[in-house]
Amino acid sequence: MGEIKVIHYLNQFFGGYGGEDKADLGPVFLEKPVGPGALLQERLKGIGRVTGTIVCGDNYFGENQEKATRTLLGMVEKCRPDLVIAGPAYKAGRYGFACGSICQEIQEHLKIPCVTGMNALNPGTAQFRSDVYIVETGETPRKLRDDIMKMVNVGLKLVLHEKLGAPSEEGYFPRGRVITVIGNETSGRRAVDMILAKVKGTPWQTEIPIPDVEIVPMAPGISDLSASTIALVTDGGLTLAGNPDHIPNLNAKTFTQIGVSETSGLSGNSYEVHHVGYNDAYVLEDPNRLVPVDVMLSGEGKAYARLHPVVYSTSGAVTSKLNGQAIGRQIAARLIEAKVDGVILTST
């Protein structure tokens, strides 16, 4: 690879145009490093250079996002850089948004690696960290040189397809990706190291941070249960014989529907179970064990009015969160259309 060409994106302030008064500045292209770009240039000495700086006002970007993005993409495409560095934006929210957004667009449309930098409190961090490499900075440019160094180091590895180290080593926010690696020590050794550190009170680093839980609010209660229609939904992988909707044993992305006869419930059809997580012998013997249609039918007209005559089923084994949510939304749409009031969700 020859000289590495880098484009630097800055806002009106770091670009030297002014403060808030110049936040409406439209995109400007300068064929040289500007402001903190000098530090970028210094770091690149011998391997590359800053071939251009794009300056854009934070308000201009925020209020004309589509137009600004088109213009900026055009400017970058014309330069054909190997790498784009944006910011660092520190705590500035609009600047962080612009940096994160433009990096994401350049990566997606121009396939050029990008790195930006901002503080953990910058809303741009939460918004873009999964998709863009964001180096963690302090709240102010006090350590600007260090921040630029880290950003360039990450950027160069991306450009040269070198293996990027862990977030804590390289200084970027973890992106919520997991990569399989073969380490130096067995998990047995690492577990004992970690328990000793924890018990002694010396620092340790968890290998898997537990993700935050999204609390799903409960639906409001059924106002008149005696008039209500209740449906049965299951993730136990029950399907009609032949598995017409091809529900897989695990990693499901879809669901299937099983009709329920008012008079004979689930009998009159034969069934299969597609689910790696349990022994299906008992459910194949009597599917009412998984979806209690028999009990629900015998209860019609008592506590509730009726059982919805369709059972919705999928396999809940190793379902990804996104797929689970998508399946749930699709089933919910059918339930709403059928004016179902409540659901009993059965699992294994």
């Binding site: 990027l164 862990a166 977030p167 973890p174 992106r175 919520g176 990706r177 997991v178 990569i179 399989t180 690696v181 073969i182 380490g183 130096n184 020590e185 067995t186 998990s187 047995g188 050794r189 690492r190 577990a191 004992v192 970690m194 328990i195 000793l196 924890k198 018990v199 002694k200 340790w204 968890t206 290998e207 898997i208 941070p209 537990i210 993700p211 839980v213 897989p248 044993n249 695990l250 990693n251 790696v276 997580g277 349990y278 022994n279 012998a281 008992y282 084994a317 190793v318 990804s320 969160k321 294994t348």
Partner: protein, 434 residues
């Protein structure tokens, strides 16, 4: 006072080949193919038994692996109590070990719950420890292709264990290269003061896949042979786990091999530091993972009680089995232990097919702040082409799909690479969050 010391007399084996008589010459194990084959073929379930030797660097793929066993022979006898030996406590005395040799059990019906692949060369070899061992591969064809899958699993289990003892017996009364001593009592009370008491919890198996009406499922040897499994947490001496008292159950060997239990890395590491940095609690908490929520609450509460009031632990490593039920139980155990002031490390495996952190585990407690990853079972590795495939004609994934070109190059999830993701801590496969 009865001895609780286990001594493994390790014979280091570097080469294995077939020969006229089973014996050890220096670092070479010679196996009489006919004698071993005849021994295993006695089982009425089998029509035919084939033994192969595969070696590090061979361009060979072993498929349908249902378990791996290290050759061991207890001088006091009684190997694998309840399966081969009579039911008596183990975990003490001398046992010969052939280190560098692995007996590989295959299930040619393809019905092992977690069936796996061992590649001796190429990319896949990096992920399994058995690319580096000399493997004695046992392939047993049943007389009846429609034999009950549990009956067949039971038969191949017994065959692998018999082979393990038969081979280790070749060590005779020879001099071991070295001796591994497992003796918790070596550390007296005086040395113990000031050291943190660290324990270990092992989930043995989950009940969710069992069909206990099936007589051969009932005969599945797990804890000292077969029989109803304890639904209450219990204590085992760590040496019992190392010495063949427990197994992970039929067909779970691809992720929790008997070999890995015999060489349990959590136990070995705790032993290494016993008396110097920590006091390894003599009671390993063992649980069977139950299926109902109430039973999970019960087993977790009782285990935490034992850990706190009886074992008086300062910290504990909570390991697991493969299943989601095991993971839920792990989370409960972690919370209840931490609530009692016992620090925990939780060892997990990932279930993320698309490399996302949010799908890695279903543990959501903020008390699980010290997590070790044993690898992501759903990440893929691309296996390199090989010249030879042993262990059957078909290898089917858990989705039901069969691998098309078995000797070719194909991508497969890590759960199918034997002990790449392992719950006795022996693997170095892990996860970087990026």
């Amino acid at each position: 006072m009865k001895e609780n010391k286990l001594r493994l007399l390790v014979r280091v084996i570097e080469e294995v080949e077939f020969g006229p008589k089973t014996c050890i010459e220096g670092a070479k194990l010679i196996i009489s193919k006919s004698e071993l084959t005849d021994l295993l073929a006695q089982d009425p379930v089998f029509a035919k038994v084939e033994i192969s030797i595969t070696r590090p660097g061979d361009n060979v793929r072993i498929i349908n692996v249902s378990d791996v066993v290290e050759p061991r022979f207890r001088v006091l006898g009684n190997d694998f109590p309840g399966v081969l030996g009579k039911i008596e406590a183990v975990g003490f005395g001398d046992a010969y070990v052939l280190r560098g040799v692995a007996v590989v059990e295959t299930n040619v019906l393809g019905t092992a719950l977690y069936r796996g692949i061992i590649d001796h060369s190429g990319e896949g070899a990096r992920f399994t420890p058995y690319s580096l061992t000399n493997n004695v591969v046992i392939v047993c064809q049943p007389k009846d292709q429609s034999v009950d899958k549990y009956e067949y699993a039971w038969a191949i289990r017994r065959a692998a264990l018999k082979a393990s003892v038969y081979l280790a017996k070749a060590a005779g009364k020879s001099e071991p290269e070295f001796i591994e001593e497992y003796d918790l009592d070596k550390v007296g009370d005086a040395d113990a003061s000031g050291l943190p008491r660290i324990g270990y919890l092992q989930q043995i198996v989950s009940l969710q896949h069992e069909d206990l009406r099936n007589p051969f499922n009932q005969k599945e040897p797990i804890v000292y042979g077969y029989g109803p499994l304890p639904s209450l947490p219990t204590l085992l001496h760590p040496n019992e786990i190392l010495d063949g008292a427990i197994m992970a159950g039929y067909g779970r060997g691809a992720v929790f091999s008997l070999y890995s239990l015999q060489n349990n890395s959590f136990i070995k590491e705790l032993y290494h530091r016993h008396g110097s940095e920590l006091l390894f609690s003599p009671g390993v908490l063992t649980i069977i993972v139950p299926t109902s929520m109430e039973e999970k609450d019960r087993v977790a509460s009782m285990a935490a009680q034992l850990a706190g009031s009886v074992l008086k632990l300062d910290g504990i490593v909570i390991s697991r089995d493969w299943t989601g039920a095991g993971e839920t139980t792990q989370a409960l155990l972690c919370e209840k232990m931490e609530d009692r002031g016992i620090k925990t490390v939780v060892t997990v495996r990932g279930a993320s097919a698309d490399n996302s952190l949010s799908d890695f585990v279903t543990i959501f407690s903020d008390k699980a702040d010290a997590v070790v990853s044993c690898g992501n079972g759903y990440d893929t590795v691309t296996l390199s082409p090989v010249s030879e495939v042993i262990g059957g004609e078909v290898f089917r994934l858990r989705s039901g799909v069969a691998i098309e070109n078995l000797s070719g190059k194909f991508s497969i999830q890590l759960v199918y690479v034997v002990d790449a993701v392992n719950f006795a801590g022996i693997s170095r496969v892990t996860t970087m969050v990026s």
